[in-house]
């Protein structure tokens, strides 16, 4: 059974596969996101409490979810590469990091914009935004550690280990920030949790989640090709792949 998996995970087949998949994934993502945006912004009813400001959720929630999902994927891919020495894992981890970091930044921006009408300021150390900010620091740490080594193979392994340590700490950070927030601010700040979602609100959100997810995998495939090439430059299969 394992040989099937090893053949799939071999760099040339991953390079070819991701090349074929990327355009379809990105096209599907574009349709879903277009539909989700139009439906969410124009047709879904406003929230009874926050009015139309609530529509920010259609971009904020999917990117917040992607920011954490990308880190998890990076840690798991790194762990697989470290433990079973499957080199492609490092390429996946190196490809996922910048995408995850960009969505973390997007979550921070859209989150603070969403909070402005409620808090009166862009940044009010809201527990979820603070955890997202720390997640951005974690991304930055992993990416700069990977670059810091001359030998790329060692940089990959060091970054993989740091990602694993980071992923163990993410729930701890989330818990401690929430605990810290409830300690000082108590319940005074209106928590903008998930407002009650009627069906017509929920559909565009799910569509946006699917769209963002497909987009993420699509971009990951494109970046993966670059990372695989960087790591396999001298392998024989690269000759034909590059010649076309």
């Amino acid at each position: 059974m394992w040989t099937w998996f090893y053949r799939l995970a071999s760099p040339p087949s991953v390079y070819a596969l991701s090349g074929r998949l990327a355009p379809w994934l990105l096209a599907a993502a574009a349709c879903l996101i277009a539909f989700g945006l139009v439906d969410g912004l124009a047709f879904a009813p406003p929230d009874y409490q926050q009015g139309d400001a609530f529509r920010i959720v259609y971009v904020h929630a999917p990117s917040a979810w992607l920011s954490t999902f990308a880190y998890m994927l990076m840690a798991v891919a790194g762990a697989i590469a470290l433990i079973w020495r499957i080199k492609i894992g490092h390429a996946v981890a190196a490809a996922a990091a910048p995408i995850g970091a960009s969505f973390t930044l997007c979550t921070l921006l859209s989150g603070s914009l969403w909070g402005k009408p409620m808090w009166g300021t862009f940044w009010a150390w809201d527990p979820r935004l603070t955890s997202e900010l720390i997640l951005l620091f974690l991304y930055f740490g992993v990416m700069s550690l990977r670059q810091a080594f001359e030998d790329p193979a060692r940089g990959d392994r060091a970054a993989a280990l740091l990602a694993i340590v980071g992923v163990v700490n993410i729930p701890i950070i989330k818990f401690s920030v929430t605990w810290w927030n409830s300690l000082h601010q108590g319940a005074t700040v209106a928590r903008f949790g998930k407002p009650t979602m009627v069906a017509s609100m929920l559909v565009p959100l799910l569509v946006m989640f699917a769209g963002f997810m497909l987009f993420f995998v699509g971009v990951l495939c494109v970046r993966l090709r670059a990372e695989v090439l960087n790591r396999e430059r001298l392998a024989t299969w690269v000759r034909e792949a590059v010649a076309t």
């Binding site: 920010i56 997007c106 859209s110 914009l113 090709r225 670059a226 430059r233 001298l234 690269v238």
Partner: protein, 53 residues
């Protein structure tokens, strides 16, 4: 109808920039992934050329 839609119930100043940021993030990801894969192809060709020389 469109002016109401654009006004976003008075929150236009917050909703539209958010949409802008998100689309910018998507665009940046596409652009930088493309750039990275082009650069990788270039570097691969160069090191193969060097290996052959």
């Amino acid at each position: 109808m469109t002016s109401g839609f654009l006004a976003m119930g008075g929150y236009a100043g917050y909703v539209w920039p958010c949409i802008g940021f998100s689309l910018a993030t998507l665009a940046w990801n596409l652009w930088s992934a493309q750039r990275a894969s082009r650069a990788a192809l270039e570097r691969a060709r160069r090191s193969i050329a060097m290996a052959d020389a």
